[in-house]
Point group: D3
Chain length 158, copies 6
């Protein structure tokens, strides 16, 4: 039967020992979105507000949060990340900002939590900066879309 | 025209000065969910794994993250929170764990970002603990459902 | 029957809501000790090592740790502490360094965890600085000795 | 004469340069206990309170604190820990909860401070959760019981 | 004779007890500069690099660092800051970026360390982003230029 | 044309991917100073205040801050530093305390930001401890004086 890796045989939560894992190049990509009213999206893009700034603050918050993943997620290993990147794109048809984050490391354990954390905090920061004009924003679709490195092989999803 | 409160007249990001705001009781409630395969949900609940533990770790991570909100969200004010609570419920019809977080404070500024951060990190922690068995989980529906205190009045949503 | 304040009626861990508590002057004093070989104690005090430094580093570590209490203890409230102090005294008869820490705040909740955390981290820092010469040190006797402010009244113990 | 490794020849505190140390498997185990009234111990175990929760919160706090060791202990090196585990056992004869923590790393420096920090914060968290019913708890017996890896060889103690 | 406030009568470092201080509006402004080659300054402003971004990252880093002041400066009090702002201006005559930071709080203690920390970390961030093209940058002139609130009255300097 | 390494081709801030860099011994030395009134300098050194303490607190703050560099500087990589050292010297002719910090690592990326951060926070801590007697102190001359390791070769400056 399959097994939750963070729960030991007595049901106690624990970190997973990674000493025996091989060092390889690890890459993870995660995506998500924050949905908002058309006017909010427009305001971010050009409504008297230099487009760059909301996006620039949010991207930076996302990058910084990836470095705090082990501080936020109780059973994550502290990792000396080699790279983090966050991309943002306004999608007027869907009425959202699409967020893509990637993290990479040459090391013993995967970095999907770092990518997912970056997406989440980027979205929360956009929420924070726009909440005065729109209280109905919704953050969603946060998922892993790519993962390579490590013995479980390459994972890809939409 | 409406205005993003964190952007000043020159388009620079900044904290909003709250010195002049009145101290009142502030309460915020946020919700969200993490969607997963039926077997993953079952495994959390009873599959050889004491139900309480995944939920207990995730709830605690959520509570602790609310205290780090100002460290994660660049323009949030540091707040001496008075209360944080996180609730989890498995919903087998929707195939998800539903997350509800509340935060409260007697102070000068709202606590919706604290509640939303708690929901997000609770979801990320469930993801982390289950990712060995399910890489297709999705975090979504993160939104504010209640807010009271402060001059903008009471807000309610589903 | 008496009740653990951090566990709600369903057995879930939670922060205790302090919004309704009165602001008063809160003071807590905690004590503890680190036991070591006579030569280690002597080395700290005068063996080629300026006495002040081990004590000075350890005291500072203790003071700084009190400010991180809410980051370490999951259900502690973040508090804008007004004062922290740490005192150290070598006791050659008992073969230990005695540690006393106090914390104070004008606020809604007690500061005993801050004083106890300061004692603990002060002791750990002494351990760290002396472990190259003595691996048999033992940290003990960490307890609350004084607490005032709040509705439970004044507490005193040895 | 033996020498405190963190104090240089002028008596100034400093980190110890570990660049020249060899990478090996490092393991450390530390123990400690928190003494309390029999009713408090009973209350944790079964008194209306699901046993798992106090222990579960405390264990998690201990694990998370190990990752913060370099942030708490001024001269500790930041380490990408590979594993941390915390065990708790109620001892009714001694009237205490016994705490055992282990930490491991494939790296250049020992992890005893990480294990000792985990024990200390686990104990402080139990204290915090029970302090409303018992102000006379005492934390003690915190010591290193096992250490392997590195040129100083294997260390064992009770 | 005048007295260093953080040193007690025995020469030990300590936090200053602020419980007895009055709550008032506290404001502090600090300035500083980072000197660099003319081409580096030009590159920041318009050399293929959108001007806003280096400045935007650096400003945000400065704002966030003000919230970490009590974590960095050992004897600073943790403060729930009400406002932080950072301004940047390129000065081609002096060959530098001039940095101005302000911090404010309605509270018991001054916020000059928060403003000075924001200036310092803003400068360090500019250094980090430009160091690949200019290793001779110099950070200087960091000083307090304005302070009001508290019993020592208003302070002004260039 | 030369290029700011942290800005990608679209002008967005990002971390620089260091996965492909070689691991080598990296060393960086930075210097700086804090200028003050002669009486302030004298007070630190011998005016009723044990000389060691202001210096000891400031040095320790500098060492600890080097470990937080990646938390302060948004695009810095988290690094498991192998060594940090801070030296202080009073210069009565120049009316300042001169600060020298070094950082080292066997790893993939340089440690100049760690050394520069240590100098900055050491200076800020001296400022904090002396500000009650001297509000006209000025922090300056913060620069890199030595760097070795990595493909850009050895750098030396005054």
């Amino acid at each position: 039967m399959s097994k939750l890796s963070h729960i030991d045989s007595n049901g106690k939560a624990r970190m997973v020992d990674v000493s025996a894992k091989k060092e390889t190049n690890r890459l993870a990509v995660a995506k998500g979105a924050i949905y908002m009213a058309p006017e909010t999206l427009k305001l971010i893009e050009d409504g008297g507000v230099p487009k760059g700034d909301v996006f620039s603050v949010a991207r930076l918050a996302g990058i910084m949060s990836a470095k705090k993943t082990a501080d936020l997620i109780p059973l994550c290993h502290p990792l000396p990340l080699h790279d983090v990147d966050v991309d943002l794109a306004a999608d007027h048809n869907k009425g959202c900002v699409e967020i893509t984050a990637s993290a990479s490391l040459y090391g013993r354990t995967g970095v999907e939590m770092e990518a997912l954390t970056a997406v989440s905090v980027t979205a929360l920061t956009i929420y924070d900066m726009c909440k005065a004009v729109d209280k109905h924003m919704k953050i969603g679709d946060i998922r892993l879309t790519y993962k390579s490195g490590g013995k479980s092989g390459t994972f890809e999803a939409d």
